[in-house]
């Protein structure tokens, strides 16, 4: 029987290795799988490359992962947000690498990684400092850059509901990078606000087909990351 539900956060993040490439869903706090990230901190893997739109806020979630010196390199579009303190400090000290990627190019690179497309051409960032070192090519008189697909060893994704096959639906703008990141990892690990029976998700409205998901952990009441940040919490809690 197919049942992708695992009983604990620790089992969910089992097997992450030093040096792994990990995609983490979310746009700011919306859709960020904070419990999975904290489980990853507990798990201990280091030298990670993290692919995520932002670098986290305050001292929880991705920011805490970075603060614990587990991250060698960030691939993201917007590393500087309100309340983002950890990354900027390490970055200015030269202690963390940054690959800055325009948001749409980041999304398309992740989608390409998941779709078996090794590279594609895009008009985005042509003529800007971000085209540096990239191949350009003219199609129909317009210049484009070649960009490469990105694959990950693991994706950590937050969703609203899941069934045991791994079919997922999301909530509003918390969907953001989740569906494409599910497609681009060898092992996709999902935290779901609720598990439902097979057939409860409308087959016309499933956003992530189960084929893209390997493990699910149920977190009925995920932490409100914005609140933790505004109250200045730090993970681990002690």
């Amino acid at each position: 029987m197919i049942n992708k539900l695992v009983p604990s956060l620790a089992e969910a993040v089992n097997g992450v290795k030093d040096g792994s490439v990990i995609m983490i869903s979310g746009f700011g706090e919306a859709g960020s799988p904070i419990e999975l990230i904290h489980a990853l901190i507990d798990q201990g893997a280091k030298d990670l490359t993290i692919v995520s739109n932002n670098t986290g806020s305050g001292h929880v979630g991705i920011a805490s992962l970075i603060e614990h010196r587990r991250v060698r390199k960030m691939i993201c579009s917007f590393p500087r947000t309100t309340n983002s303190v950890v990354f900027p400090e390490l970055y200015s000290q030269g202690e963390i690498e940054l690959e800055l990627v325009p948001q749409g190019t980041l999304a398309e690179r992740i989608r390409a990684g998941g779709a078996g497309i090794p590279a594609f051409y895009t008009p985005t960032s042509v003529g800007t400092p971000l085209e540096e070192g990239k191949e350009t090519r003219v199609f129909d008189g317009q210049t484009y850059l070649m960009e490469h697909g990105i694959k990950a060893d693991f994706s950590l994704v937050k969703c609203e509901a899941a069934d045991r096959y791994g079919n997922l639906v999301y909530n509003k703008t918390a969907r953001n990078f989740g569906p494409i990141m599910c497609t681009a990892a060898e092992t996709t690990i999902v935290q779901a606000r609720g598990m439902v029976e097979l057939g409860e998700l409308d087959p016309e409205a499933v956003v992530t087909p189960g084929i893209f998901v390997q493990r699910i952990v149920e977190i009925n009441h995920p932490l409100d990351e914005s609140k933790l940040v505004s109250e200045n919490w730090r993970y681990p809690w002690n």
Binding site: A30, T105, P123, T173
Partner: protein, 225 residues
Amino acid sequence: MELDKNKAGWSKEQMAQNVALDIPDGSYVNLGIGMPELVAGFVPEGREVIYHTENGLLGMGPEPEEGKEDPELINAGKKYVTAIQGACYFHHADSFTMIRGRHIDVCVLGAYEVSERGDLANWSTGKPGAVPAVGGAMDLVAGVRNIFVITKHITKQGKPKIVQNCQLPLTGKGVVKRIYTNLAILEVTQEGLVVNKMAPGLGFDELQEHTDAPLTMASSSKKSR
């Protein structure tokens, strides 16, 4: 002649209204963070405009009432928003299909600098050591059909923001179509910057003086309305 360039001319709200008047009924519009957001408040009676936010919502509505904020319903600036009737959600690759695929009609953005050829610099102050952050700005300028810039005509230090050549790192080359400042509305054309309209009480020479690129008057331009 000295005028208080930051206070002179149109107010922020009037600038936003100038932009809103130029957005046709039925347009799909992406508004940048900050001053561009004001544009949504000035859609003329009888026009229906649909707002796209690149984090995955078409049909973005106004801010929620207090107490109705949903941390999973935000805009690209990470502020709480609402969704209108007829809205829909989608993932990031689909969202940038709308942008890169030239499906968005208008994007209104702020600027550090705009050149007479429509080059835009609005993502990096170029300061060494600062953390660079680009977000969706480069995708928007590369993909949206009409890029409108809304900005003060000069910086707080009195330096022109509309220039012959941008000094700051570019967001995109030759991408801006029209510039809405507190002093004028400028069209970027093959022949350079054309003044479509000037703020009330402002003379052409004054406007030129505060612009670091040659201006020409549009034949049909009105000095004010």
